[in-house]
Every structure is written in structure tokens, then in C-alpha cells.
Subunit: 365 residues, 4 copies
């Protein structure tokens, strides 16, 4: 399954940047889950370009649920969401047909698809397709929340400006992100936006690190080897364009610690086994330990910039110079937060359904 993910709950992604509609099929859902169209619309609005860090492309993100929902609740049959594409300016892309935009998928798609790829706007590789993940994720996030499981993502650093990390008990932080205009926890939104604006003014782009937390996940979810919680999340997260690194807990910093510093001692708190510290990010041996699952994702700078770059014309087989003149995001770190939250919801719900059965999400705690 190349464009599908999951085992018990699965998500299939289809559509292109400049095609008529995106399509996402969410299968294996418990019956009886509430489907709140306002919640989906709200999550899509968060993903939508807006403000100083994003592209000028203005999407409307109307959507239609055409299967799997009856009288406001999931039926258990596959749920299909269609999201029409609007404000498509293919002409922006016709001009540089054949040009391999550096660090984009134009060249690899050209090889893999033998020249038959839809090159307009990145085709199926476009970040536009993540709207489907966000819409499907919204349904899962509501269901998970009803079972006490919350997921949120904020910008930990961008363009040299740092946010504070999630608190040890991240529930309040996660809830605060739902209402935030800009997904940071501390008081750094202004500085970040300014730093991004400076890059845009230079015709350039910036990257960043975003941090995701899952709170309320029971201990015992995940598998020792090839279905590890880290591995399942990482595979999902690397599916998102621009991601080049994932680390759990203290991650790469652990490499520089000694064991006595890196280990999280087990303690008993109110009769429950917890850890002192969470340098392992809530996961031991690939399995959740009941502490918040916390991971960081490295997001590279948007490859599309307006500064001239060296590249090749794949059709002519010549080297050339390229400077993008259309609309693009100087940073995707703001928008990627809601996407990572959505895809993390899919992995979480799938593993819970595998562990506890397909109806678990629908049960009242």
C-alpha cells in the first residue's frame, strides 16, 4: 500500500496540487464516532495559508464527506472526504516545465514515473495533499480526546528563534494550541514571524524543529521490533514533505549523555508507576510506558525560493538557472504542525485499535 497507512485503521491519500479534488479514505473506524464538520473545518483552517509565514495562495478547503457517515456518526464503513482544489494557477508551473527545482521531488518523480508525472505544482507530492491528512485527523483527534488522549504540535524553533518545550504534563499546553493563532507555547510568536519575514524579504526560506506530544496514551502500546511505537510514528512523520529528522525524548542529545543521566528512573506516584524525567519520550523497547510520548521533527527550509539557483532542465538535458516567481511559503513550520498532529492521531488510533479491538475508540470510558 503505497499511499495508504495503518493496519486496523487505515488512511489512503489521493489527489494532486492542480487536480480537481483531493480524496482521503479513512477505513476501519469504530462505528458510532461523532463526526463534527465544524471541527474538521477548524483544523483545515489552521492548516490554511495565512499570515506572514505562509504562501499567498488562498485555499478555501471546502470539503464533502461522501461515505461512511450517517446521521452525524461513523457507520464503520470507509469514510471518504473530498476536498476540491480552488485558486489553482497552473500557468505559474507551465513556465518551468522540465526544470528540476532543487530539493523538490521534480527529478525523482521524473525518474520514477518516466516522464508521465503531473508536474504542475508538485503534483501528488504537493503539501496541498496534506489537507486530506488534516481532515481525517480531525475526526480521529475528536475520538481520541473522548478517551482522554490529546495530541498537539508546536514550533520548538524556527529561523533561530526558540519556543519553550512542552511541560512535563503537557495537557494544558496541548489544549492551548487549539486556540492559538500561531502554534507556540511561549512568548515568541512575534520574533519568529519577524525572522521568517526577513528571510522572505531576502527571497529565501527557513526551516525549524516542531515538537509533538501525545498525552493520555496507556502503557503497553507498540511492539518490540518492527511495529515499534517510534518506528510507526517515524514512518508516518517522514511521509510529510520537508521532514528530514525525527527524535524521541531527548533524542540526539542522548548520544552525548552517560547512562546514569539518560535513564529515566521508575517511581511510584499515587499507586501508579511513572518515570522521573522523560528523556526516553514515553517509550521503552518500542512500547509506550504511560508517560507522555514526545518527539521532535526536523523540517528543512521550504525548497522553493525566489533567489536564483543552479539546476537542470530535464527535458533539454542542460544545466540552467532557476528563480521561482510564483506563490510559496517562506516557511512551512507553522502549517506542518497541524499536519503532524493529524498523522500522529492516525498512528495512535490504529495502534490502539490493534491492541484493544476495533470498537475501543467508540466506547465511553
Amino acid at each position: 500500500m503505497k499511499n495508504s497507512i495503518g493496519t486496523s485503521i487505515t488512511l489512503t491519500l489521493a489527489g494532486e496540487s492542480h487536480g480537481p479534488e483531493l480524496c482521503v479514505v479513512l477505513d476501519g473506524l469504530a462505528p458510532g464516532l461523532k463526526v463534527d464538520e465544524a471541527s474538521i473545518a477548524g483544523r483545515l483552517a489552521s492548516r490554511r495559508p495565512q499570515g506572514p509565514t505562509d504562501t499567498a495562495r488562498r485555499e478555501k478547503d471546502e470539503f464533502r464527506i461522501v461515505s461512511g457517515v450517517f446521521e452525524g456518526r461513523t457507520t464503520g464503513a470507509p469514510l471518504t472526504i473530498l476536498i476540491p482544489n480552488a485558486d489553482v494557477r497552473s500557468a505559474d508551473y507551465e513556465r518551468f516545465k522540465g526544470i528540476a527545482r532543487p530539493s523538490h521531488a521534480d527529478y525523482t518523480a521524473h525518474v520514477k514515473y518516466a516522464g508521465f508525472e503531473d508536474y504542475r505544482g508538485g503534483g501528488h507530492f504537493s503539501g496541498r495533499v496534506t489537507a486530506g491528512i488534516v481532515a481525517a485527523g480531525a475526526i480521529l483527534l475528536d475520538a481520541l480526546a473522548s478517551r482522554g488522549i490529546l495530541i498537539g504540535t508546536h514550533i520548538l524553533s524556527c529561523a533561530g528563534v526558540a519556543d519553550r518545550p512542552f511541560a512535563a504534563e503537557p495537557e494544558k499546553d496541548i489544549l492551548s494550541l487549539l486556540d492559538a493563532e500561531f502554534p507556540v507555547l511561549g512568548d515568541c510568536a512575534g520574533a519568529m514571524c519577524e525572522a521568517v519575514a526577513a528571510a522572505r524579504a531576502d527571497g529565501d526560506s527557513v526551516g525549524g524543529i516542531v515538537q509533538t506530544a501525545i498525552s493520555g496514551l496507556p502503557a503497553g502500546v507498540g511492539e518490540p521490533w518492527f511495529g515499534s511505537l517510534e518506528g510507526q510514528i517515524a514512518n508516518a512523520v517522514f511521509s510529510i514533505g520537508g521532514v528530514k529528522g525525527v527524535e524521541f525524548g531527548a533524542g540526539f542529545a542522548l548520544a552525548g549523555m552517560r547512562g546514569s543521566e539518560a535513564n529515566d528512573p521508575f517511581r511510584i506516584n499515587g499507586g501508579r508507576i511513572v518515570t522521573g524525567g522523560n528523556r526516553n519520550g514515553g517509550i521503552n523497547g518500542g512500547i509506550s510506558n504511560g508517560m507522555p510520548v514526545v518527539f521532535n521533527t526536523a523540517v528543512k527550509p521550504t525548497p522553493t525560493i525566489s533567489r536564483p539557483q543552479l539546476t537542470v532542465d530535464m527535458l533539454k538535458g542542460t544545466e540552467c538557472e532557476f528563480a521561482f516567481a510564483g506563490r510559496h511559503d517562506p516557511a512551512i513550520v507553522r502549517r506542518i504542525c497541524i499536519v503532524l498532529t493529524g498523522i500522529t492521531a492516525l498512528v495512535t488510533a490504529d495502534l490502539l485499535a490493534l491492541r484493544y479491538g476495533t470498537d475501543w475508540l467508540a466506547e465511553i470510558k
Copy 2:
């Protein structure tokens, strides 16, 4: 498939640290691949504890291939390798039955398996089980090499001592690792071993970062979303105990760059499209671009240390102190290199078989 990985070529892992035999089944192999038992033995010898950084446990790693090979070549039927466990000292572990070793899987296994887990030596979670990955990987590495694809892993940093990274064209570096007693590229083996020995003398352990390169992989392998080359590798790599982070190319460092710096310009070299620089680690849009695939893996310090730690006794439900007195590795970074190389071979071979058909590996170039 919880303990299996792959789609066209699959690996299934079974066995425990203190059980009689490990078992690995490699399925979907092309028929006619040479199976060189000396090559398998050599790779297993590399993984085997030895020298100053490793545990004092001395394993012999005899192995038997009991299916899938006939007259020295793969038959196309599933290939089974059995590796008996020797030098097992279960008594070391009986003493602390019920103790949740910090940052180990004892507690999560206890929750997941409801107290029925084989707790001796970490059971199925033990690094011992990676011997199966190494043995299977050896067969795949030989087959890949016959098609011009080389894979190697070295210690990029450990206990504060750094190695040089892979050269831009890593073939020579990869080949040098085959003969290396200690898997580093530069002149740092002595310093690293000393630093590890210092930690051991303190009853402590250290972690590190290891770097893997795949050279010779054709462009066009991988999928845009949920079968991305990064995601497939990451899922495989996170299956290995102690891994807490994975980054491709410049990885987390990309988050601090601007696009003009992070992008790899496309160039033409000898009629072939290449990139200037490889900050994307040979992957664009989840698909190989023909440059070496390079990724770093963060390895946490071995959780087992002899210094006393706070933890809980899961059977008594009480807090307690724990200091390990058995044999253990003060660092697994040396031994994990050969394991990462092996599991990367599995992912690489599987994606090639999916893309080009099951017989591709067996064809003479």
C-alpha cells in the same frame, strides 16, 4: 506482522536472550543468490562482543541454515537461520526478577504481556536477537554488492569523540569498514575506546551517533507518502533497541539553515544528473535521487549500568534501588553498526524487489 518487516522481501524475527535458539526467516528472496556461510560468520563475528567497549558475554554464534538454500544458492523458498544461544547465565537475572530496570523494556513488557513475559535477559527485547538481523543481512549485503550497491555504518561520535563523516563518494569508506576492527573512518578508535573505558570504570555507560551510507542505489526508489525511503528506513532503524533518533542528510542541522543553503542544486556530470552537495541525504520527496543515501542514528547510552539507580519492584509494588552486577556493554555503538547495516540491507533489497521485480537481485548486471 509484529515481528516481521518488508513487503516483497520479508524478515521475521523470533527468539529470546535466554531461550535455546534464535530464529530468523527471510522470505521472498530471488532464487539463485549465492549464500556464503563464511560471509555470514564474518558479519556475526563483527557483531559479537569483543574488545573494550562491549559486554564480557562471549557468544559463539554458530548458526544453521535449515531451509531455503540448496547446493549453496537460494531456492526462492523461505530461508531459515537458527542461531543457538550459548553462555546464558539466567541466574544473573533471576536475582532481580520483578525489578524494572530503568530505560529498559521490563516495565512496558510487563504491562503489555500481563506478567507472562520471559524476563530473563530482556527476553525478546534483548539485543541478542539482532544476531538474526546480522545473519540475514549478510546474505542480502552480498547480493546487493553483486549489483553494485554497498552499505556501511560507522561510529560518527561516541562519548565526546568524533569520527569524520562519510566522503561524498562513500564506496571506499564503506569497503574500509569491512576490514576494520573498530568501525570508524578516521584515526579516532583509540580515543573512543578510552572514553568508553572511562565510563565503564565509573560503572556507567555512553551513547553515540552512528552514520550509515547506501551507495549505488538507483534513482527512483521509494514512494511519495507512506512508503517513503526515509520512512521505511526509519521504521526499520527504530526497531533496534537503543535508537532514539534518525536524520537524513544534514537532518536536524537543516532546521537552522536557509533554503538557499539547504538546497542541493542539480548538475550534470558525465551525462548523468547529480546534485552539488548532499544535504538531503540522497532522497527527494521520499524517493532516491541517485546520490548516496546517508543517515545518522542516535543511540542512547546502554541503560544497564552498575551504578545504583532508583526504580520499582513491579511484583511488590514498591520503590527500590537497583545496581546491575552482571555482564553488559558500556556502549553498544560499535556493535549496533553491523546491525544497522543489516537492517538497511533488508529495506533496500525489499524496495528494489518491489520496484523491479522479485528476480532483480539475482540478475547479472
Copy 3:
């Protein structure tokens, strides 16, 4: 993947009888395959109710391809087909909400989906959803035909009237079915339609046996155990509503033969190894042997009849009598032929892609 099938080429099915649109996603296709909308429309027209054996429901089967096709050819990205539902009369079904129609899925859906199922017109269980299989199948059948592989299905028997079986070399027979108004090979269409009409006049329904042939499949496709050609086809065929039996070659009749009669001797014909007779239906040991793959599918009578039947009201928990007064098919054997041909194309194309690589279908022979 509950509503998806395939490994390298996959089909995902969504939508309900009385929902706004059906959705089918076909993923893993080779790039560059021609997509002929007239061919899809033609196959859909064959499936559409018409003539004396089918329901009076008149569907238009307009369809839109909203992804995966660019300038008339597949791009390699997932291909989405949307088929709007028209002529939906939900009121027919409102009247008997809660009534478990005998031998339908109403009761099992009610248990599985805990009362949240869309009960109108059978919901996701409706034969209506097979339009998606037919549309996707049309694309695959064209691609397979370009590689010399033909697939066709005819009614072998219905309501006591028998057709002749496929000829030993079935190409001509398969091609004749493309133009046939009624999918039979011999001169029995009139008698069959009369027999069906007689059942309809009695307020009753009939079943039948349909026979499928795959011609031109190379030897060597399929797996010894759990990916056997028989098993993969059978799983696909049993997904179609009303199917209760599948047999390959002489099938159940083999049970009454002796080995000397049942075995197909190997012979050499024009330098090629063939079999004398095809009682094994082109498959030995789960793997194609180069002869035509031939199988029969048992289709039960349409469960919906207008004669009164005993059943239960699931909401009231009482026994009751039920007689359907809406539109329905007195036999689905005619319409199921095109559906079986479509789903067989999916299995065939998937196994070929797994064996020979994802681009095999797109290569010019």
C-alpha cells in the same frame, strides 16, 4: 486494510448505495498506461441494470477521474474515480428499517456496526458499490490486454439452463464476450432470460454459476502457500456479494476422479511446455503453469424477493413477515460477470507487478 485489496497494485473501495458518490482509489499503477474513458464507460454500461434479468433501477454511472491521470495517461500516483449515485429511492428502504432481510447483511451489519450502519439499500454492502470495481477494472483490463492477457466471464448455468464452457484456448471466447449483449458463449441467452423471467413472475429469484478465464498469463506467477494464485483469486471473488463457492479447473468434480484421470500430463508443443487437458485450471502448486486459468464461481439467488418471508425486526426484537416491494434483480448472474472480470484483473495485475516490477504493465511487449 479492510476495504482495500492488493500488495503492489491496490484497490480501495468506499461509498454506499444511497450515499452521494462512490469512490474507488487504484494505487501502484505503472505510469504511462492509457486511460480510455470510453472503455470505462463501456464496462460500466455492461454492469448497468438492463433487460429482463436485472432490477428496474436505472443508474447512469457517470464518473469522474479526479487524480492519477494526466493528459490521458496514468501518472503513477493514486488514481481516484468518483461515481455519483442517481435514482436513489431511500423511501423504499425507510419502510422496512430494522427488518433483517433474510440472507442479506442487514443483521450482521447491525451486530458489527452496533446499530450505526447506513441501512438504506444495503449501505456499503450494496452491489451498487461494485461499479467502482468495474471502473477500475476497465483500466487494468486495457493494460493487461496490451500485454496479451485477456480476461472474461460468462454465465455457465442459470436457472437450470446451461451454457457451454470456455474452449481450451479461450481467447476468441473472451473477445466475443466484449460485444455480447448477454454474457453467454453458446445459443442459450433466450432460454436463460425466459427462465429468469419465470422466477420473477413468481416473485422469486435465481442463482447460477459463472465461469472466468484468464488467457495469456505467463507461467510462474503465484506463491506456494499463502499467496497462491487460487487463494488470491478466491479472496477477491468472495468479496463480491452473493458468491458462495469458487472452484478451479474441474474443481469439485476432481473429488470424484482418480489421479490417472485428474492429472494433466505435460507435453511439448512448438517447443513450449503445455498440458494435455486443463483439469487443474492452469495452476499447479498455487503457481500459474502457462495454460489458461479457469475458475467457476457459485452465485446464490438474489436474496431480495417479493414473496413473503419470515424474519425478525431487529429494533423491536420480534419475529415478523417481510415481502420486498421495491426494485431488485431477479438474478445477478449477468451483472456479476463484468464485476468478476474486473476484480480478477486487479489480482492478476497485482501479482504481475509483484513478480516483474511495478512498470511491467507499461512496457511494450
Copy 4:
């Protein structure tokens, strides 16, 4: 996964007829299930050749469980069973190397594996490998029985002699098969064995139809389309060598009935919804309806016979005559019963684990 089956609970099969050991890995089991070695040995003894219908090959079927069991119970880690091959007479096969035995997999294996297959005794295609299914099935059957689910298979007909079908409530019949020397329900063992002996005396072989029942399966298990209970069982059953047809309930006979006769009316019995009659074999819309699941499997005559047959020498590329002079079964219908029961247990347990969670089997009802 070519030689693996299942989603939540999976079985991987490896080994060859003339190799040193068979290997079966059963993964995804609930922890805490009792593993009764006597029960496994008993099931293996049932499969073992014995009496007048079977081959003269005498296997001992010693087995070793080398992982996944600790102190007599499953740990939740993959469970490996090794079964050494004894009494192997490869010389029987050396004599006809290159000869494609009619209706065997010799020719298809030769094409698929390009001449590298282990041809001795059918290699991985040998019925010998089913010992692994039987051993793994024994563990699952015990676990299912503890939840009130019973599975059994008997010979419905063989060589022209018929047994009576399962009773409408098949529990007693299933239990009677556990102790039966010959797996029939009625008084036909003598006549069947005589008919088989007659075929053997003629140097020939016979086939038959075997019938399997699952009793106690809850309603609501299975999926509407590609995970249908019929399809999942059929795929599993067709994995067994010699199977050429599968039908559920009245199966092919339904094709000749009218709907009013074929439908199973729903009734209420003791507050529970049941059906009057079970012509649908306990499945509606791919999902269990709470009645016994009943299916018939067509088994072709053993292809190996001692009468001379026409065939080809694949190495010489010539036609030739072949008469087998080694040991073989004149009928496999007796031995296949226990294998079908075992593989049905795997499918049943897997679907239950997917539906109700991985621990369901371990819970005390």
C-alpha cells in the same frame, strides 16, 4: 508476505520435505495462553501417515518450541516450533530429477525459481510442510476452545463413499472427531478405506470432499469486501496443496435454487436471533451471523501415482513416460482434515484478535 498469513495473529511457514527441519513462527499471540505439548503431539499424530489411506513414509514429528513460551504459557513474543525431518529418502527423488510430475508443482517451481528449486520430495511445496500448520493450529485450537469456539473437519466423501454432513449444531460432531481414528461422522470408515485400497491396488489415487465447521463464533466477525470471512478462509484453505474448490453452506447447490428456497429466515430462539436453516454457512455479507460456519473443500486425487503417465523431462526438453516407484499417499483426504482444522483456527483467531483486541483469546469468558 509470501509464506505468512494473518494480520494480528500471523503464521510464517518455512522448510522443505528433505531439509533438516521445518520451522513455523506464530506471532501476535495473546500472552498467558497455555501451551500443551501433549495436545500438539496429539494433533501431529493425527496428521501422521498411518493406516490404509496414507503413504508408507513414517514420520516421527518430534518438535521443539524454541521461543515464545515461558513456564508453559505464551509470552506474547513470537512462538517458534521446529520439527526435524526424519526418514528422508532423497534417493527416491534423485532418480527422476528434471521430470515434471503431472499436476505437481515441479514445472511451475522450475519456471518460478529458475532451476534453483529444491526438487527433492517437492521441496517447500511438499505436504510435509503442513506439519507446521498442524502444530501451530493445536495451540490456537486449545485457546479457541477455552473461549467456546470449536473447529473440526471430516471427510464428507471419498472415492464414491459419502459420510453424513455435520449436524445443525455441530459441537458434538466436532468433539467426536478428536477421538476418531478416521475422521468421519457416520459409519462409513470401512467402506472408504476399502475404496481407497482398491485405487492403491490399481496404482492409482483418489480425491474427496472434506467439510469443516466452526461452532461458537460470535456474530459480527469479518468484513464487507476484501476481508470477508469467506475470502479469508478461502485464501487460507487454497494454500493447502491439492485443494481445488471451496464452498460455504450449500455452496454450488445454491446456484440451482430459487431465493425462496436458498434464503435462511431469521428467527428468535431464546431471545437470540438465529436462522432457520444454514444454507449460507453462517455468513452473510462476509460477516459471521452467529450460526455455525460450515464449508466444504474439494481435494483432488493425489497427483503421485504408480501408473505410467506422459510428461516431460524439463532438463532434456523431451517428452517421456513416468511412473512413481517411491512412497506416497493414495489419498490425502484423511490427513488434510487436521491441516484444514489448523489453518481455519489461524484465520478464526486472527479475525477475533483484530475485532476484539490482541488479548481476547487469553481472557476467561
